[in-house]
Assembly symmetry: D2
């Protein structure tokens, strides 16, 4: 977990054209620049095919967007945790709202992540589900009300009770879990609000990737956690 510090800004590249292939590497360089300038910990979750080129180009930590709960074998079209690790990623999202998993598979996936030396960030849609996820002992939980994702309406302002409720429930069950929040975050003050609610970072996507000027937005995010 050496490269990861909190507060953490984790940028999910999804399958946006602005963050695919060469553009993904460019965005990764922008994130690295800001990370070096501000000393904020910025991590990136690009598409599977772009992990290798990003991890070999920049120094910021790279996450997968998903792994499957499999061991090496006959699993055509699936994501082997060991292959993600070998490619240079240090962690993985699990159960993102766009890639929900069965409960038993989340448990097995967290185990496979640990065995493959990958940090696990389990996404959850509310405080109750976050508490359930915490029982499975991942490294981090990212609470994201799906109805706010991509809206520009920040969870930390529109639904602060979801965030603080998650912090309460999760910390009571498992004080070691790092809690992030996400959905609708587009400004530095949204990030600051998230930290004030007890989280240790944010999971962001379109707010950065689809911004007119990603450098400016990500710099604002970084400064909001380093110059609070």
């Amino acid at each position: 977990m050496s490269k990861i510090r909190t507060p953490l800004i984790l940028v999910n590249f999804k399958t946006y054209s602005e963050a695919t292939g060469r553009k993904a590497v460019e965005l990764a360089k922008t994130a690295e620049k800001i990370s070096l300038e501000t000393e904020a910990c910025i991590a990136l979750a690009p598409q599977f095919v772009d992990i290798a080129s990003i991890a070999s180009t920049v120094s910021v930590p790279v996450f997968a967007q998903h792994i499957d709960p499999i061991t090496p074998g006959s699993f055509t079209g699936h994501i082997l945790p060991e292959s993600i690790r070998e490619t240079g990623a240090v962690g993985t999202l699990i159960n993102h709202s766009e890639r929900r998993l069965k409960l038993a598979d989340i448990d097995a996936t967290i185990t496979r992540a640990r065995e493959s030396d990958l940090l696990s960030v389990v996404c959850a849609n509310n405080a109750t589900v976050s508490a359930a996820a915490a029982a499975l002992k991942p490294n981090m939980i990212a609470v994201e009300p799906p109805e706010l994702i991509g809206t520009g309406i920040p969870v930390s302002k529109a639904k602060p009770e979801v965030v603080s409720g998650t912090v309460d429930l999760v910390k009571r069950m498992n004080p070691d879990v790092v809690i992030l929040c996400g959905a609708g975050i587009t400004r530095g003050e949204d990030v600051a609000a998230a930290l004030r609610l007890g989280t240790e970072g944010v999971l962001v996507a379109s707010g950065v990737v689809k911004a007119k000027d990603p450098y400016k937005v990500l710099l604002e995010f970084a400064e909001s956690i380093t110059k609070p």
Copy 2:
């Protein structure tokens, strides 16, 4: 479709540890060597994360093991056809028995492959399903009885009627579709038998990847199609 010629040997790397990361690149070099020596067309379907390194290292055509029927956007953890193309692949498996898709999604995925300049190879479990797949106008169909996959019992010998029945049904519906067969193929004579049954190639996996000497097996396959 420039780089692809028939008869075709398409090697699925699945998520075998023998074909992950650096080992995947090594196996790709072996395939390239044989391809250059024999002039057989050998294509490779590695894991997503290994496509870039293989496509930039060897001259043999590379396929993805799966793509999702999506356009750029909010699809965390999914496989964007355009990103596969940009990474250097020329085609993709669709609906492998270990990654079955819904019918409407196979239709949409073939369309997305075409739009992204990727060859589509739809896998099917029997002659009837192959005929259904042919109605969707993919570039190729690979018929594989799931119960023979990984057994070493070659479909071309154990179930020749499945192969010839597929050729009959598919060619009647759509004479332009290239037909491959797979499952249990481990020897050159299995490949030759497949061609005699009317196919234009084979889809292989463990027979090559998990062989004691992949070079020897793949050379035997290549010679069986170039020195019939």
Copy 3:
């Protein structure tokens, strides 16, 4: 197939509250009344739990909304074809747009329906997918553009080319398949238009179930096929 005649009006009860439990039986009685009055063939597809009470109360043919491609055994929460038949249904929808299946499972489900003496009605979203479904030899195909379902914009008027294109493609492949169309049908003239395009019936849902006066709408449908 004794009780089923074409032209056919097949009413999908979905999980509408207006067609659940006692209300489902009431709606079935309404359909039976119209069927007896007009001699139109009206079939009903209620929820699983309501099949028994409807099939034992009315004389109109009953369909399931879905079955699973399973044989008796350990399949908790699944739909066994034999149990549907024993309950009094004569057929089943397969692959409705709200319950899409994998291609290989549609093939297996059609086989299981046949073995269980159930008529198979495979739903498809466009002409190409209908052609693929026809290769699997179901009894009927119902083409429904998903974007029109529940809109009140009738497929037979908004997308006549989808309906006639389906008729063309499917009949060329398999002239024995009965073709229905659905989506947005709310008036008798929509039904008549569907028949003029070459179909032998319609698959309807909200247009009847959620109508202010289901009797009136269904009577209009029935008369449009019996007094053309």
Copy 4:
């Protein structure tokens, strides 16, 4: 929850031919007879289509094998909680190993069960997953190691630590949850062992349904909890 008392014997009929249609009603009568004779609480989970006939024939409580997290509407082929309740069931299994659900859907399904006045019994494959399920506040949790289901090797003897570990973890999180265990239970002493490990009942299936003499086996189970 009036009709349900602990210790509870919950018999899952799965899709066994021995527990389908008329045979399901016969088996329900057998269970009712034993329940009346021994005063043991025996509940039954038949297939959806058989709920109505069983609930209207016998006095023992009936469960569904699954419900979907939906409200009334356009969900062809799905299981509406309200329809299950109206049919006479008092509860439902959720997330059985043969019908696993996504984590967010388990949360939503428990809520829908509560809103529909149905008891929720969430199945889990190990102690950790049971703890996660407990965070979602169902009425009961049934822990069943999938590898023992249908084997005749009783979980209460082969893996007592899974059962006692589940009791420990779950009770610490949520002392109100009733804990059942299942898998491989075929004799009265297996049931007694389950209770000694801290559970309040068992979830059984083939051990009863596929027994040569279900009456004898179920009587043995019932006496093991009423004459301990």
